[in-house]
Amino acid sequence: MSIDPGKLSRREFLKLLTLLPLIGTSSKIDFFGRTFASHPSPNQPGADNTRPNFIILLFDTLSAQHLSLHGYSRQTTPNLARFAEHATVFHQHYAAGNFTLPGTASLLTSAYPWTHRGLHVLGTVKEEFAVKNLFSELADDYFIQTYTHNMLVMSLFQQFQKNLDKLVLPHELAILNEPLTDYLFPEDYYASFWGERVYRGSGADLPGSLFLSFRPLFAEDFHPFTPESLTEKYGELFPRGLPNNSLGLFFKLEDAIDWIQTQAPALPQPFLGYYHLLPPHEPYKTRHDFVDRFDDEWRPTLKPESTFSLGMPQDELNRRRRWYDEYIAYVDAEFGRLIDNLERNGALKNTYLILTSDHGQLFERGIHGHVTSTLYHPLLHIPLLISGPGHREGVDVTTPTSCIDVLPTVLHLAGKPSPEWAQGQILPTFGGPHATPERSLFALEAKNNPKMAPLQIGSLAMIKNGHKIVGYFGFGSGRDGYELYDLQNDPEEMDDLYQDRNSLAQEMKTELDTKLQQENRDFTEG
């Protein structure tokens, strides 16, 4: 067939179209059109085995305060403890926000929320961070693969996707995914997700669809793949229902874990795998062997009611805490299975495995969950464990560190300098300075503040010298004010020292206020 490009007939054009799949296979264009960089596989000539691989395993909403590894009363994490025997454990590691977007965005951009502006539950970060993040910094040399069960994290992945070699979509590791976005508009995830959410309705929001949104009402009667039928099918394995993201994605953690362990040895080298798995985020759907594991007499310390209390009775908080702890035990068991298999198949020989979370969870002071304006310890204290090639012994780091330190550390281990925009520093024991308690770490909650405006409503926490001060601003009288806690002597944050320790309180308040004013000034001028 000879074709003159200058005189391409319609018939010839159609013939050429049939060759498109060949182009797809030869230039590594995946089904959704995202291009793969041409990285060699581990044993192929040209594979760069001098640079280490990274697996960042993030379990959503995993509060360090609930891990037996960190001294929690219930034995929630025996496998983490086993992993810690040859890993570096950061005992005072903190999230930069109290829910997914600010926490995850700070981890991936090494910027505090006031800088990246991922302040809202279903928001995004400033456009400039599309090329200022962990993936963009490693993209030239690394094969980068990501996966999440969390639709909110998908918004970030979409922003960063130009530097992702493989963005695995949520439904690919799910048993059922009801939203159409995943299937129909994966390249335009954010807008299509919101469009569908408006149309289908969610929670207390009425659906934009007059007729088609009745499906949930009739689900039991008409829909063959309802949660009810899933509960029937998986009822024995998951007596409390199948794990899900409350937005129609139903999954088994086992499937994600099995998939990760098959990916690690097979991915082109060097690689970064960022896996943001939803458990133990609510709803707490633990596996049958963990149900009622902590149906014990133990009760947590009763704490003073918060001015942001949602009025949840303590008994109900205790019940939810127990379910959460039982969900953590399931996560821990699956994590144990993963590390055993990765070690068995040799995938960790040249790989750093980083386990962390984006934020914690609260079961106290009348508050359940993390959609709150408070910044109490269980919300901010998250795990960080890192094992690397040749790590034989466990190392405990007790100086405070932040999630913004992960990016500089990974870059350092990959042989790359920290970009000047990174606000974090290389973690202690990984080449960074010996972090001192004098370093000020911050966390921000500002979901009611407009994205692109100075911070005028929210909560800002600062941790320094073993103390934590939290400032609440813009909420009105009765809620605005400060709290100060001595984290070393009062880790449960029982006694608010703000009124008592005047000099320390004033010193920390001044620094906190100055920081807020400075960031607002920088934002306005910038």
């Binding site: 302040l119 809202h120 279903l122 928001g123 995004t124 508009f185 390249e187 335009d188 954010y190 807008a191 299509s192 919101w194 469009g195 569908e196 408006v198 149309y199 309705g201 207390a204 929001d205 009425l206 659906p207 934009g208 669809s209 007059l210 007729f211 088609l212 949104s213 009745f214 009402l217 009739f218 009611n448 503040n449 407009p450 994205k451």
Partner: protein, 181 residues
């Protein structure tokens, strides 16, 4: 084929019926979208908001087609002696009454009526809607005056729905553009 084609009404009638179907579906979708606008403006830029509106309009267009499809199939099973104008009047009343029943079902979530659960409430309004449709359909079949009044209403609705149709086409173009870029 001869039987079914003889039951078909002129294309203009079906187009008008489609425009009637668009009206309640779009009004509802736009109201719900506007209710969410307040929260969107806190963290979205104008491009994002317009894009979301485009998706909502495309979904509304699909739903209008769905509703129209049901009425179209229904029109095929009506006796041949029912005139095209009467089919249009019947289709109009079914679309509007069904939409009103659907709105009432949705509002149950806001009204928080506790004496009846959501599923029973839904069936209640489905039943009331069907009853009203049956009664008015019977009236339309018997009353030429009602039929002509409904057809006059269709003329007015069609004009308004053309605006929605234009917006849908624009929304569809935005959605397609976003897939390509």
């Amino acid at each position: 084929m001869a039987i079914s084609s003889s039951r078909l009404a002129p294309k203009k009638i079906y187009f008008q019926l489609f425009l009637v179907c668009m009206l309640p579906v779009h009004i509802w979708a736009i109201i719900i979208f506007l209710r969410r606008m307040d929260s969107f403006t806190i963290f979205m830029n104008l491009t994002q908001i317009i894009s979301i509106a485009a998706y909502v309009l495309v979904y509304a267009l699909m739903e209008s087609l769905f509703l129209f499809g049901i009425l179209f199939i229904g029109s095929l099973i009506l006796p041949r002696r029912v005139s095209a104008a009467r089919k249009l009047a019947l289709g109009t009343i079914i679309a509007l009454v069904a939409s009103a029943a659907a709105v009432l079902i949705h509002f149950h979530a806001i009204w928080k009526v506790n004496w009846i659960d959501q599923k029973e409430w839904t069936w209640l309004w489905v039943g009331v809607g069907l009853l009203v449709i049956a009664l008015i359909s019977f009236a339309v079949l018997k009353s030429e005056r009602l039929e002509s009044w409904l057809n006059a209403l269709v003329e007015r609705i069609s004009l308004l729905s053309l605006v929605y149709l234009s917006a849908d086409i624009l929304g569809l173009m935005i959605v397609l553009y976003r897939q390509l870029t």
